[in-house]
Amino acid sequence: MENARFKPLEYAFWACTLLPFVVTPAYLSLGSQIAITALFALSLDLILGYAGLVSLGHAAFFGVGAYAAGLIAKHYWTEPLSGLVVAAIAAGIAGYVLSHIVVRFRHLALIMLTMGFGLLLFEAANSASDLTGGADGLQGFHVPGVLGFKFDMFGRTAYAYALAVLFLCFLVARRIIHSPFGLALRGIRENAARMPAIGAPNLAHLRKAYTMAAVMAGIAGAVLTHTTSTVSLETLSFGRSADVLVILILGGAGRLYGGIVGAIIYMVARDQFSGVAPQYWYFWIGLLLVAVVMFLPNGILGGLSALRKKSQ
């Protein structure tokens, strides 16, 4: 089992995440988008990268978290941290319920079922416009700030908030991955038939991992709601599920930093390219995907670590 201690490079990485405050203050709102997306990708990594469960409907939990946080802010109170907890619980319940169905399937049926549940939730939110605002999204609430800091127009508080939540969740994910439970998940990914033979309850493990991933995705959605004070139907869309999958694969699935690195590259590239010609942005992301699958089967981080091993 690899060493669970923080390495120097990791300290350096997290120190670098503070740089945008001084170096690129104009891009802080992009920074908080990246942090939220990175957290979402990290949650997918728990089930896809470590447990080997493919999901094309992970936005369902992101959306449940986002709508839960939005509904609380609109109808009850606007304090974000307690809203975050409620959103996490809501997403967790959704994940726990769905996990009982999802973990039993494999291959095309699994892909279609996760996609189907995602689409179902999207349609349900679209139809229940009294509750969710339908296609216009949930509006009419304002989250003033967090822990006494106001959300300013430069996005300083928003970035700090998103970054802090990402970091805390990252520590939790790291703890999970390095625990015996995390090892069991990797065992299921590598050989689902052999694990029960050594007494590991496969389905129970997968259900647990699925629920944890749902909680984390819900937290990411709730942070998005708090920092933007609106919830759009897009949070539940198939496009978001596909995007996060692309991001995770790009960075490298099954690696703690895969989702974070993927989110940084994807979001910055999209911000730059789509400004020029949004309809052609898809060409480059498609080419990138094809190249990653063909030449970098473990994503960018996997390619880098292979390079490092070779040079040593």
Binding site: A109, I111, L120, A124, Q279, Y280, Y282, I285
Partner: protein, 288 residues
């Protein structure tokens, strides 16, 4: 409500035939090689744009454009299969999904580059437009045309799969690829031809679909792809009969849902799909 039932069944059946054309190639190739090709609807878009070019720029007849669309779609499918897809037959589902999503993304941008993102249309000969009356109800001529085309192609497909030597090879490869190889069947060649036929049929479907669902550059990853996947997953991999039944049921359910319960949107379709897959993960007619 009952009086509209005939119209709904008629339109739904025509729509189902369209979905069948779009999906049948994917179903058979998935059954043979377990290759999850999410770029399948790119072939439909190829057929659509090919028809638009032939009809609007060259001024040829729509009926001439259809076989051209089929041939172009099949050729592009062969090239892609030989150059790219064949490397991925042993990869994981996830890699195949991502790779083909990447191809679909690139095709979307390419169509947008050449044809802009505006919806396109192709001129249809006047004798295919309008409607005819039967028992006091009006039916669209084009939908009847769709239905006849679909039925003719289905009959041709079933005959060639059930009666020809090539069809026997395909069936053997779907049932047990390794055993078929062991018996000396050239599965790779059979697969290539099947893939080409599937791509061609999807292109033909895309060409026929312009008049029904329109043609935009985002077609490869639109809701049509979801419907095609539903047809494949519910019908069962590699089963032409299953795809046919699933496509007709889906077409009629979708049309009826839009007519009678418009507020439900596509909710009903997804609900039926999820329930069916939970009940039979291998599809209605799937074997594995």
């Amino acid at each position: 409500m009952l009086s509209s039932l005939a119209g709904v069944l008629f339109d739904g059946f025509a729509y189902g035939m369209l979905l069948f054309l779009l999906a049948v190639g994917l179903s058979v190739t998935l059954g043979m090689m377990n290759f999850v090709n999410l770029a399948h609807c790119s072939f439909a878009a190829v057929g659509g744009y090919c028809t638009v070019t032939v009809v609007n720029r060259l001024g040829w007849n729509f009926l001439v454009a259809l076989p051209i669309a089929f041939v172009v779609g099949a050729l592009i499918a062969v090239v892609l299969e030989r150059a790219l897809f064949r490397r991925l037959y042993r990869s994981s589902d996830l890699d195949q999904c991502l790779f083909t999503i990447g191809i679909a993304f690139m095709s979307i941008a390419t169509f947008a580059w050449f044809y802009s993102t505006e919806p396109q249309s192709a001129r249809i000969p006047s004798y295919l437009l309008g409607s005819f009356e039967l028992l006091g109800r009006k039916f669209a001529v084009y939908r009847l045309f769709l239905m006849l085309m679909g039925l003719a192609i289905t009959a041709l497909l079933v005959l060639s799969i059930e009666r020809t030597r090539f069809g026997a090879q395909v069936r053997a490869a779907v049932d047990n690829q390794r055993m078929a190889r062991g018996l000396g069947i050239d599965v790779d060649r059979a697969f290539m031809i099947t893939f080409a036929l599937g791509g061609g049929l999807a292109a033909l479907g895309g060409a026929l679909a312009i008049e029904v669902i329109g043609l935009e550059s985002t077609l490869p990853l639109s809701v049509i792809l979801v419907y095609v996947l539903i047809v494949v997953a519910v019908g069962g991999l590699g089963s032409i009969r299953g795809s046919f039944v699933a496509a007709i049921v889906l077409g009629i359910t979708d049309t009826a849902g839009k007519y009678y319960f418009p507020w439900l949107g596509a909710f009903l379709i997804y609900l039926v799909m999820v329930a069916l897959l939970m009940w039979r993960p291998m599809g209605l007619f799937g074997k594995r």
